[in-house]
Every structure is written in C-alpha cells, then in structure tokens.
C-alpha cells in the first residue's frame, strides 16, 4: 500500500504537494468502492442465480434460464421487482429498529471485505489481526437478527430471531477454537501471513498438515455454515415452519437485504476456509511480471472460494434441517470437545515438529485422494444404477 502511494505521488498525478495520507485515503475509497460495488454486492446477487441453477440440476429440473443468456439477469430482475414492492412497516412494530435491522445485517456482511486477501498485494487492509477481525465482525448478524425478530411484533419472527441468536452465538465457539490450530502453526493472525506460511501445492496446505487441522477445517466449515444460517442449520428461516422466520414481516428491498447478506456470506465463509486451510492465493512462481502474478493469484483465490461456495449450495440441496435442540447438542457436545482436542493435538504437534512435517502432508493428501476416489466410485454406481440419461452440459 505504501509503495503504491509513493509511486502515485512520484508520478505527479496528484500534484507536487500531495500529502501521503490524503492520497492513501483517496486510494482506499476508490478501492473500497470497487470491491463493494463491483465484487461484493453483485456477487451476492449472482450467487442467488447460481444457487438456483445448481439446485435445479440436483433436483432434475432446469432453473431460471429465460431472463438473459442462461437466465443470468434473473437476479437483476428479482432486485428490480423487490425495489418496486410496497414498503410495508407493520403498524405496531418498533419502526426505527425495524428499519435498522437489515442494515446491521448488511454491515456484518460488508465489513469483512476489508481484509479479503485476493492476491499478494490486492488487499484493502492487511491488519495484523485479520482473521480475528473477520470472525468477530461476522458476529454482528446476531444484533441485526434479534432486532428484526423483536421489532416485527410477530410471534413467529420472535421465535426465528431468538433461535438465530442462540445459534450464531453458540457456533462462534467451535469456529474460534478451530482457528487456533492454524494460528499455533503460523504464529500470526494476519491473513497474508497465514497464506504466506503455506505453499501452493496441496501437500503444503494446512488442510493436510496433520489430522488435527483436517478435522479443524471441517468443524470450521460447518460452524461457519451454521453462523451463516445455511442448511442444515437454517432454522431461523425455516420455510416450512415459520414462513420466513425473523424476516416474515419484511417486504421489498428490506427483505432482500437479509438474503443478500446470507448469500454474500457464502463468499466470506469460503474465503476464511481458503485462506486458513487451502493456501489462499498461493500460485507457483511462473513469471517475474508482478501484475501477471497478481492476476494468477487472484484467479486461484477466487477459484478456491467459488468451489467452496458451490459445495455450500450442494450441501444445502442435499441435507435436511436439524432441530434447535439437536443443533445445540451438536455444538456443545460434539464440536466443542473435538475442537479442544484439535487445539491440544496441534499444540503437541507444533512442539514436536516446529517446522512442520511434510511427510504427514503427503500421507494426508494420499488419504484425501483415496476418499475422493471412493466418492467418485459411488457417484458412478448411482449413475449406472438409475439408468437415466447422462447429460454433462450445464446449459439447457
């Protein structure tokens, strides 16, 4: 960032007497605008279309494919429709809180983008507490959801809001505990630091570093899904019980804000896992050209995050919902003890092998490939057995 500011002032674009802090502020504003308006919000919209197409193929149907090429403009059409709706604020609701709640939830979605490491130099603010900032800021959704549930003056919304608050707060604990193994291995909380501690090859990723981090990665992923109110943990908006949970009384764009925050959160979940466990933007050093390397790294990061987003959609289409007491049991009786075991196990591991054990990386990678092979074999078994027509084309 400082080199960028230096280069800009040296090139004379801002005049001779430009103060570095002023130029830095302007650069930050422009970059934030690009990131938010160009990446974050469109992503939240596009992922709604992508989720519907992915779901549709899983469900043997087609999904939106009429509005624009392959239905790509469907999300814009949905957005325009919601904006045109009547803004209903229930008479007896608490109007200021009612109006503020979606913005708080959106805030929880937009703030983590400040530390999103797209590539080695494309990061808005490389805080040295990056990952801690990210997990704590995503917890702001609790305030927004509780506000929405209470201010709606509706018993169903209240139940949804309280369920959600309990869920998010509980699942912060396994999520936080699962970040510890990585922090123990790298000694730093900054996003770029964690990524730089991994290599570009899968065996150097923290996912395969030792069995404890493998389990920690899975627990972190599932806890992040629970925090984001995604199935199998989508009780607060359980469509078949509470119509739309805490968002029942909302209509129009306010309603869409809640869902944009949920869809956009998928990217954040994917980014956390990709940074911590999948090596982030790491790409083999193939060229000396800085710009080209940055572009390749950004593409790698996006590919990893989008794959995890796809897996989130796939899980949502497959699994049923858990009940609230089963959710709490899962968190407190299963995830929290296992996370503690992971933490202690990683601590012992780091004490024995401070520089990491690359042999374990290869063994774990081989195990993961074997698991993937078993999975592929089951998929082929079901394809053959059902004798339905095979069709690989994603467009139809």
């Amino acid at each position: 960032m400082e080199t960028l500011v230096h280069n800009l002032i040296a090139s004379g674009a801002f005049g001779k007497n430009a103060s570095p802090s002023m130029v830095a502020a302007i650069v930050v504003f422009i970059m934030s605008a690009v990131v938010f308006l160009g990446v974050a919000f469109p992503f939240a919209g596009i992922v709604s279309w992508a989720e519907r197409r992915v779901w549709a193929r899983i469900q043997s149907r087609v999904g939106p494919n009429r509005v624009g090429p392959q239905g790509f403009l469907q999300w814009l059409a949905d957005g325009v429709k919601h904006v045109c709706k009547e803004d209903i604020i229930p008479d007896e609701s608490d109007a200021p809180l009612f109006k503020m709640a979606p913005y708080l939830v959106m805030l929880a979605f937009t703030l983590p983008w400040a530390v999103m490491p797209f590539s080695s130099s494309l990061i808005l603010a490389d805080l040295n507490v990056g990952i801690l900032y990210m997990t704590s800021v995503t917890a702001l959704t609790v305030v927004g959801v509780l506000m929405a549930g209470w201010a709606s003056n509706d018993k169903w919304s209240l139940i949804g809001g309280i369920r959600s608050a309990a869920q998010i707060v509980s699942y912060e604990i396994p999520a936080g505990l699962s970040i510890f193994p990585v922090v123990l291995m790298t000694g730093t909380l900054s996003m770029q630091g964690i990524i730089r501690a991994q290599g570009w090859a899968p065996q150097h990723w923290f996912l395969f570093a030792n069995p404890f981090t493998f389990v920690a990665a899975n627990i972190l992923y599932i806890s992040a899904l629970a925090e984001g109110n995604r199935t199998p943990f989508d009780l607060p908006e359980a469509e078949s019980e509470l119509v739309a949970g805490f968002a029942t009384e909302y209509s129009g764009m306010r309603y869409l804000f809640f869902f944009m925050a949920e869809w956009g959160n998928l990217f954040i979940i994917g980014a956390i896992i990709a940074t911590l466990f999948l090596g982030g933007w790491q790409f083999p050093h193939v060229t000396k050209n800085v710009v080209a390397m940055n572009i390749l790294q950004a593409i790698t990061f996006n590919v990893k995050v989008l794959f995890l987003v796809f897996v989130s959609m796939w899980i949502r289409a497959t699994l049923p919902r858990v009940r609230i007491d089963q959710l709490m049991t899962l968190c407190w009786k299963y995830f929290v003890p296992i996370s503690f075991v992971n933490m202690i196990g990683t601590a012992v591991w780091v004490a024995i092998w401070p520089d990491g054990n690359s042999l374990m990386g290869y063994i774990m990678l081989a195990g993961a490939i074997a698991l993937a092979a078993v999975f592929t074999q089951r998929v082929i078994y079901y394809l053959r057995r059902s004798r339905m027509e095979v069709y690989f084309n994603p467009t139809i």
Partner: protein, 372 residues
C-alpha cells in the same frame, strides 16, 4: 428459578401455511419452543360431496369420488364401484378386477411418493421432493395413456373399468417398474438413512398400539405401531388373494415403536410391495371383458351396504343407503385422515414446534379427505 414467571404464547398455524398438507389450521399453545397443545381446526375444504351424490345419481357420482382424495383417486373410484356393485349384486369380470388392481397399486405408489416427498420437504431437504414428484410424473404419464387424465381419473365404472389396457401399455408399465426399484434404493440412500433425518424423525410422535386402536387410526399409521392389519389380507376383496405380498409393519428399530420414522419406513416398504403386486398382476392378467353390463339408469334395490378397502391412507369405508330410485339416499365416506386429526391434539403435548410439522407430515394427512 422455579418462580420465574413465563407466559405461554398462542400461535396460529393458519390455513395458509407452507407446510400443513392442504388447508388446515392449528391453534398452537406454546411455551417458547415446546408446545402445550396444538388444536386442529378442520373444515376449510368442505365441499358437500356426500350431499352431491344425492343429486347426481349413481353413474354421475363417479367423477366426484375422485375429488374426495385427489392424491389417490383410484381407490375412491374403486370404493364407489364396489359399494354400488354390492348393492345391486353385480359381478365384475375377472380382467376388470385385474385392471382395477393394477390402476390402484400404481396409484398407491404415486400417493406414497407424494407423502414421503412432502415429508422430506417439511423436514428441510428440498431434493427428495422433486425426485419423488419426478417419479410420480412418470406414473401419471402411464395412467394418462390408460384413462386420459392425470389426477382425477374417473377410470372405474360400476361394474368394471371404463377402458381396457391400450396396446403396448403393459410393456411400458413393466419398464417403469424396472426403472422404479433402483430409484427407490437411491431415494433411501439420499434421505431415508440420513442421520440428520433419522434424528429428526425417531422418537417423535410415538403412538402406542392401544392408542392407535382407540383413536381409530388405519393404514400405515396403524401398521407402524406393530399391528398387522391390512384390508387386502384380512378382509380380502377383488383379486388380492391371488397375489403374494407382505404387509410391512413398524418395529421400533430407530427409536420407539410407533414413532414417525416407523410410519415413514412403512410407506417406503409398501411402495416396494406394491411394485411386487404390480409385476404379478401384469404378468397374470387374463383375457376377457373388463366391464359388466349395467343399466344406464341404474336403480339398485332398496337397502344399504358398507364396503371397506385399503386406500393409500388406510381403511377407507363407503356406506351407501339406497331407496330404490336412481339417486342414493345417503352416501358416507370414512377416511383415514379424519381419524388422524384426532390424535394430533393428544400427541402434541411436549413436542417442539418443529416436531408438530414432522408429526402432521408423518400421519400423511390430506386435507380434502378430512373435509370432503
């Protein structure tokens, strides 16, 4: 802590709700998540079908029986046909009985597919529903070729069936059954043996055998409590004695005996049994006529009759009183869903709201059947 004052909420799961099966209303008194009582309120779908019978006459009532339970309409058709035949002592030709059984068992598979699919959707999994509907669409295509309609069939007549099997239909039906059996296994692997699903269903809404008999439950609801009662075996009618099939009952393998998981698994197994019956029927079907000669203005002798048959929801009873004219004096249908509504109020004490949805779905309550 025990003197903490809490109030109970009264919630309304209104007639319009994404997960009540049809137009049902429940007044739920809940203490937070745990319910004290869920009082059902029925009658939103009442269409006076039983009274209409007195106006349209015996032949004309056949399309109306489709609307009594539109999910498995063949059984209601068969019930009306059997009731009138018993009143007037008409015998259905052998091939006609086989056609009836084939149509009815296909409809049983379709009805159970809808039931298990809707149940999975209420629990939160969205794909099993679309897969079940896709299979149901294939059965609907078959039946559309047979009788021309996909939902309200009007296939049977007093004295037999209205259309014979079209040429080539038997091969298509057998091909469909070959396709269906692996799909059922795949469906089970997707959702039935899923741990989250089992956790949601096991030990929820346990009905003891004594309670089941006292509350008049029938069909898969009754068989899930371990009671082996199936009209097709115990009071045989039509040509069912000629087929070999099992009657699946619940065994409390995943939780207690008579919980929602038992009811669900009984339905899955019944689909496999229906597939067995269909294969036997399609292979053994004899030649001959399918419709007996019945007068166009049908006037059965004075009297009353009651028949029972095993529909998708259980023991369906038809009671007809005739006064010798061409219009019945009184018609009454006894359906399984109406009885199942009675037990919901008792079972709901202590359940969570999420479990109420599971309970309603597992009892396979269909609103038009309750209210007629």
């Amino acid at each position: 802590m025990s003197t903490l004052h809490t109030e109970e909420m009264t919630l309304n799961m209104g007639p319009q709700h994404p997960s009540t099966h049809g137009v049902l209303r429940f007044v739920v008194r809940a203490d937070g998540e745990v319910m004290r009582e869920a009082i059902p309120d029925v009658g939103y779908l009442h269409r006076s079908i039983e009274k209409i019978a007195e106006k349209v006459g015996y032949h004309g009532f056949m399309p109306y029986t489709d609307r009594v339970d539109y999910v498995c309409a063949m059984f209601t058709n068969q019930g009306w046909g059997m009731a009138c035949e018993k009143l007037a002592n008409i015998e259905v030709p052998h091939r006609g009985e086989y056609c009836r059984v084939i149509a009815a068992e296909f409809n049983r598979i379709a009805s159970h597919l809808l039931s298990v699919g809707a149940m999975a959707m209420d629990i939160g999994a969205v794909t099993p529903f679309t897969h079940a509907i896709r299979e149901r669409e294939m059965i609907n295509d078959l039946i559309e070729e047979l009788c021309g309609a996909r939902l309200t069939f009007n296939y049977m007549r007093i004295g037999g069936v209205a259309w014979d099997l079209p040429p080539g239909w038997r091969e298509k039906a057998l091909a469909y059954l070959d396709h269906f059996d692996p799909i059922l296994e795949e469906y089970n692997a997707l959702i039935s043996w899923n741990k989250i699903y089992i956790e949601r269903l096991a030990n929820v809404g346990v009905i003891t055998p004594a309670e089941a008999i006292n509350y008049n439950l029938v069909g898969p609801n009754l068989r899930a409590c371990g009671i082996k009662w199936d009209i097709r075996k115990d009071i045989p009618y039509s040509v069912y004695p000629e087929f070999e099939f099992d009657v699946p009952i619940g065994d409390g393998h995943w939780g207690k005996l008579g919980d929602s998981m038992d009811r669900y698994v009984v339905r899955i197994r019944e689909m496999a049994e229906s597939s067995k019956i269909l294969r036997q029927a399609l292979h053994k079907i004899p030649g001959g006529p399918v419709l007996a000669k019945v007068a166009r203005n049908f006037k059965p002798p004075k009297g009353e009759c009651q028949i029972r048959l095993e529909s998708g929801r259980g023991d369906m009873g038809w009671y007809v009183v005739s006064d010798g004219t061409g219009y019945p004096w009184r018609v009454h249908v006894r359906t399984g869903s109406f009885a199942a509504m009675g037990i919901i109020q008792k079972l709901s004490a202590g359940l969570m709201i999420a479990d109420l949805v599971t309970l309603i779905a597992s009892l396979d309550v269909i609103a038009p059947e309750i209210d007629r």
